[in-house]
Structure formats: C-alpha cells, structure tokens
C-alpha cells in the first residue's frame, strides 16, 4: 500500500514496479533519514537502471511498526550523501559510487568496496598520525583455512586505535550474472553466494520467485525449508563456539564442537545428500522430501547432538579463564549497532531484538514462533552466549517441527513470474538478515537482482569492536562475528 512517499509491503509480496514511488531527490533523502531516525534500518540502498536513468532505491525496515518500506528517486551524476545523517548508508553509497559512477556528495570516503574495475587493494588507507603509531597489515592470505581479505591496523603498542577492513578479493560478479535469469545456473549462484549459508540464500531466492509468480507453497515445504535453515544455524553456531574456545586455547571444547558441528551437517545431508544443504530450498518448495522413517531417525539424532552440544558448551561457561577472556572483549554497544545497522547475533548480543523470524516472518515462522535470544553486554561473551541460546532454541524448534510435518506435496511448480514487478525477501540466516530484492522485466525475467548478505552490514561492526582492543584479541573478536567475505564481495 502506498502512503505518498513510501510503499509499505510485506516480506514476500509482489509489488507492481509502477507502484514504487519516485520522489524528488530531496524528499527521498528526507524520507529515508526520517525512517532511520525513528529507529528503522536500511536493508538495502542501491541504484538500478530505469528507462535509461539511474534510479536509487531504498528498502527500509521499521521493526516495531512492521512492514517493508520502499521508495526511490532518480539520480544524475551526483546527489547529497545520506551517510552524513545516516552512517549505516556508508558502504551502500561506496558501492553505488563504484558501480554506477554516481557520487554521493559529502560522503566521508568514497573508496571502492570490491575493486570491481580497478586494481585490487590500490587505495589510500586511513592513517593515524603520531610518532608512536605503527601499522600492521594482514592478508589477503591469512593463517588458517579461511577466505581472503585485508586488514589494516593502526596501533600504539598493543592497542588498536583503528582497524580498516578492505575486501573485494572474492568478487565473482554474481549480481551482474543474475540479470536476465532465471536459468539453470541461478540457484547455484544462490547456493554459493556464501557457501556456508546455502540454505539461507537459496531460501531467500526461492521466496523471491514464489512471490513474483504469486504461488503458494505447501506447509510441508515451508517446514522442511525451515528445518534446513535452523540446522544450518545449529551447525555454524556450534562450529563457531568451538573455534572461539580454540582461540583462547581451550581445546577440549574446540574438539567436541568440531565433531558436533559435523553431526548437524550430517543431519542436513540426511535430507539432500549434501552436508551444506545444497539442493534443499528450491522455488516452489524443496528439492528433497523426507519419509516418516527419516523424520524419526532425524529427531533421534538431533536429540543426541543437542545433548552433546549442551555438555560441551557447559564446559565453556564453567571455565572461568574462558569467560574472563570473553567478557569485556570487543564491545559493540547498542548505539553503535543502531548507527551502523548491525544485524543478526551481533545486534542481539547488544540487546537489540532484531530478528527477521520475529519481525518479518515468512514460511513456517508465520505459524510457529521461535523466541528471540538477546544478551546486553555487546562483547565476545555476549556474541558467544547468544549463539548458545540460539542453539538451544533452534534445536527445540526443529524437534517441534519434526513432530508435525503435514502429509502433502513438497514442491509445486512456481510457474512464470509476473512482468514488471518487484519483491523483497528477508530471511534470518545464521549470521543475520539476508535481503534479496528482485525486479522483473516485461517478459517476467530478472531485470535486476540485488543481494545484501548480513556481512555487508556487519563488517563495520567488527572494525568498531576492535577499537582500543589489544591486537592479539583480533582473532577472538573476528571469530565472534565470523563474517562472510564472498557474501560481501558477491
């Protein structure tokens, strides 16, 4: 529904493209900053071509009032930067400047986000002045089996004054390749946008197609998709808690969690044969169905993994030296989270009840609620503890879903997508809010497709959490966020 300046829709709703308001630039900027000042957040801010011009779209979320707010304006070579009044726009505007050569005037630093058309890493870095300041440059190739990125620390002694994170090494040109689709490769782009979030991104994509085709999927399909999404969360949270234990030298929990993470992955593989859930979420439902025997076996194995992870994680909380290392390290408070637009467990660890499953429920979350887990201290401990609470709740949630799977078809044919339409899909992946926005052309194919991985919001949060920390705590802080490089670089 349209209220003049914005169009308010639901998560997973088809909107005729013509209904998205096009405001004068000033009114657009005013409207977006008003929404953000009232406690809203920017899920996406991007430019796409429209009738030979550059059209700037904003997708804003106002948690308490509900609804996904859409608005747009036409921009020429430049427009007044939104970042000045709305810091969470900063990376979006850097992306706009890089991709579309549209200058947000007044943006503090318009350097490339992904080095999509300039030599990688060739840019000026923020430098702290002073005789005792030294710089530490890390990456792109890190110690460990991990994706590439560059970290530049400005330090005095052991203390980090500023961390700058420069990414783009994983840039594969996904969004460009999605235009004109769908085609047989589309779903595989989705499952490898961030390979550890295959189910999350594939679910968002499936919802986009279903919304644009205006097809209703079965409750069974929704349930199976949500089970896979929660198993993905269980596996990753368990693995990360183990890695956090490893980072402070508490190897028993690191060992146990490494194994239990695999148990959760193997549960996912029970559904589709692939440990990362490739093939589960598909437009129209799921690619694989479960029989009754699978369901009871899965419930049994899940119960065992749930008990094991409880034993392992209790060791963490019982170890005072572990808790001491976690507490007070890498604090990202509520105000900073709000300013930077941080999402997922990192925001909930600062006391924000920010969770798409509650605020903008889709699929089975509309009928079955999962409690939101929060803590208030914003430190490594809080981010670890929220993960633990989410492990408990996700495991219970999956168990309850497993007991009530409807007997019906697991997949319907979505049919053709409607022409000249737009849809937004929000999914709470294990790292936080996944946002996909897509628009069809006159033939019902993707005119453009925009992806915002939660990491795109949260990398700045990590940089801020490192301020005034010891540089030796970087691995610990980094792991407590565990952000995606390829999800950011696309």
């Amino acid at each position: 529904m349209s209220h003049g300046n914005t169009y308010t829709c639901s998560n997973n709703e088809r909107i005729p493209l013509i209904d998205v308001p096009t405001l004068p630039t000033d009114s657009f900027l005013e409207e977006v900053s008003r929404i953000v000042q009232r406690g809203g957040r920017l899920a996406a801010l991007f430019v796409q071509p429209f009738e030979g011009k550059n059209r700037l779209y904003a997708v804003a979320l106002v948690g308490e009032e509900g609804g996904v707010m859409l608005t747009s304006c036409i921009v020429e070579e430049s427009y007044p930067s939104l970042t000045r009044v709305c810091p969470q726009a900063h990376l979006f505007e850097r992306e706009i400047a890089e991709l579309w050569k549209v200058t947000p005037v007044g943006h503090p630093w318009l350097k490339p986000v992904r080095f999509s058309d300039s030599p990688i890493g060739i840019a000026e870095f923020f430098q702290v002045e002073g005789s005792d300041v030294h710089e530490v440059a890390v990456g792109p190739v890190h110690a460990g089996i991990i994706e590439p990125g560059h970290f530049r620390f400005n330090c005095v002694g052991e203390e980090v004054l500023h961390l700058e994170i420069a990414l783009g090494y994983q840039f594969r040109g996904v969004e460009q390749a999605l235009a004109g689709g769908p085609n047989p490769r589309t779903i595989h782009y989705m499952e490898t946008l961030a390979g550890d979030t295959s189910v999350g991104h594939a679910t968002a994509y499936s919802q986009i197609v279903e919304s644009l085709a205006e097809v209703q999927i079965s409750l069974r399909a929704m349930t199976l998709r949500s089970i896979a999404l929660e198993l993905e969360r269980l596996a990753n949270h368990t693995g990360d808690l183990g890695a956090l234990a490893g980072d402070v030298g508490y190897s028993p929990v690191a060992s146990h969690c490494g194994r239990i993470r695999g148990d959760f992955l193997n549960l996912t593989a029970m559904i589709c044969g692939n440990r990362l859930g490739r093939g589960i979420a598909r437009p129209g439902g799921v690619g694989y169905d479960l029989c009754d025997d699978d369901v009871s076996l899965m419930a049994e194995k899940l119960q065992r993994a749930r008990e094991d992870v409880a034993v392992a994680i209790q060791l963490l909380w019982n170890s005072t030296s572990v808790v001491d290392r976690f507490e007070g390290t890498g604090v990202l408070d509520r105000n900073l989270c709000r300013e930077l637009g941080v999402v997922g467990p990192a925001a909930r660890a600062a006391g924000m009840e920010r969770d798409v499953r509650l605020e903008y429920p889709s699929d089975v979350y509309r009928f079955a609620q999962i409690p939101v887990s929060c803590w208030h201290t914003g430190d490594v401990f809080a981010r670890a503890y929220v993960r633990w609470l989410e492990i408990c709740r996700s495991a219970d949630f999956v168990q309850s879903l497993l007991t009530g799977i409807q007997k019906e078809t697991a997949r319907v044919q979505p049919g053709a997508m409607k022409a000249n339409s737009l849809a937004v899909a929000l999914v709470e992946g294990w790292r936080g809010e996944i946002c996909h926005v897509a628009c069809t052309d006159g033939e019902g194919r993707f005119r453009w497709y925009k992806v915002v991985d939660p990491s795109f919001h949260n990398w700045s949060g990590l940089a801020w959490a490192m301020r005034n920390q010891q540089i030796s705590d970087f691995p610990l802080c980094n792991k407590s966020f565990n952000l995606s490089y390829c999800g950011h670089d696309l």
């Binding site: 990688i120 190739v141 991990i146 590439p148 994983q170 594969r172 390749a177 194994r259 044969g273 990362l276």
Partner: protein, 256 residues
C-alpha cells in the same frame, strides 16, 4: 577439570576408521555418476539442457560427464526419464590428470597415481599444505577444515595445514581464482620452496564451477599453475578429499 574429563569419557573416540574400513556416507550421497547408455533416447538432450555448468554432453551418441565441472546437483538424474544417469555412492573421485575427470559409460576408472619415488620419500610421512581460497564460497574451505577435526584427524597421516607458505610443501587451492586474488595466489605459490605440489579442490578450483567464464574469474587453478591433484565436488565430501590425499601419498591400505 573433572567435568572436562567426564565429558571426554562420555564422548569417547570419534575418529572414523577410514581408510582401514569404509566410511559412513549419507544415504542420499551423490558420488561418481554412472551411465546406462543403452537406455539413452538419443537426441532428447534433457540432461544436457538442465546442467548448470555444461558438465554433461553427448559424445559419440553417449552421455559424458566432466567431473571437474559437475556440481553434483543431480538435476540431470531427475531430468532423464529413462534412468540413464545415476549418481553412485563411489566417493573416490580424485584424479591426477584433468582429462581423467571426463567420464562416459565405457571409461576405464582411473585411480590417482601416487607421487614419484623421490617425492614420496619427501612427503609420504609428512606433508605440509598452505590453503589458499581464491574466490571460494567457503563451502570447500569449511569442508577442508573439518579434516582437522577429531572425526577425520588428518594429523594421523602426517598431513598438516600450515600458516606460512614458506613452511609448506604445496598449495591446496579452492575457488575459481578471481582476478582480484590471482596475484596473491601466485605470490603465495612463489613463496613455497621447491619441490612443491598444487592441489585443486572443488568444481570452482578445477573449472570455475558456477562461475565458469565470468570475466571476473580465471576458470580455476590450472589456468595459472600446474595442478598435481584434482578433487571434484561442490564441495567435495571430506572423505573424497582425504581419499585423494592418501592415494597421492600412496597411503591407502593395499587392495583399496
């Protein structure tokens, strides 16, 4: 401390028996595809059209699959109404030569050649690898990383991932090799002392995977370096990777 010991006792030994015994794989695991080409209704091409990465083609009237391009999504198996293609549970898919990954109904199953006698003398009991992700989606990376867990316990074979390329005997590469990682990959390779190995893990590192022919990528590690071992999958199951490494080092029990 006591609680840690109690937990340890409760959990017991969790390391798999592989390679002495067969690994437990998911029931729906998709390994090396097999073809019943006598059932093929030539010319329908439904399998070929559904393949996301052009891994499948019809050659000489028979379907042929390039495991180096295959994402093991199983779409072709579903699309074929005649049951020509079936993904088997054969997890042993690594290859020494790129061409060995192209398989058809009558292709002889080629196992990985172990290293030369001199290389085996150096690396058989101690192999240090530096992993480089060059555009990988973190799928292959996490599935390589689990080899370090107690479940697979890579250390028992003397294989270890190290932080510095100067301490390494080779590179294990994942990802399609993005233009933005090309230079870092080559510099890392140069930093590894001779003699050195290159192992390409996953469809992206072998062929570009879903990103094949994107202008931003180089279609895999072999475009830049000589690759000694190809391990297909998207991502490869950890057992597939472990099997390939053990064959390369001639550490599989006799008869396997």
């Amino acid at each position: 401390m006591l609680k840690a010991l109690v937990a340890r006792t409760r959990f017991g030994n969790r390391t798999i028996g592989f390679p002495q015994c067969q690994p437990t794989l998911p029931t729906r695991f998709r390994g090396r595809p097999e073809f019943s080409s006598e059932l093929c209704r030539h010319g329908c091409l439904e399998c070929v059209q559904t393949c996301p990465t052009e891994a499948l083609r019809i050659a000489g009237g028979h379907p042929e699959c390039d495991l180096g391009r295959c994402l093991f999504c199983g779409e072709c198996e579903t699309a074929c109404h005649n049951g020509v293609i079936r993904f088997s549970r054969d997890y042993s898919m690594g290859a020494s030569e790129r061409s060995d990954l192209v398989i058809g109904p009558d292709t002889e199953r080629k196992l990985i050649q172990s290293l030369s006698a001199e290389m085996l003398r150096l690396f058989r009991r101690s192999l240090r690898l530096r992993q480089v992700s060059a555009g990988g989606c973190n799928g292959c990376e996490v599935e390589v990383n689990v080899l370090n867990t107690i479940v697979f316990d890579l250390g028992r074979f003397g294989i270890q991932f190290v932080a510095s390329p100067r301490h390494a005997d080779g590179l294990l590469i994942t990802g399609p090799v993005t233009e933005n990682m090309r230079s870092a990959l080559l510099k890392t390779y140069e930093a590894v002392p001779e003699p050195k190995l290159v192992i390409a893990v996953g469809a992206c590192a072998i062929s570009g995977g879903p990103y094949v022919n994107h202008p931003q990528v180089h279609n895999g590690a072999a475009s830049q370096l000589k690759v000694d071992l190809f391990i297909p999958g998207c991502p490869p199951h950890p057992v597939t990777t472990l099997d390939a490494l053990l064959r390369l080092l001639s550490r599989m029990p006799t008869g396997r």
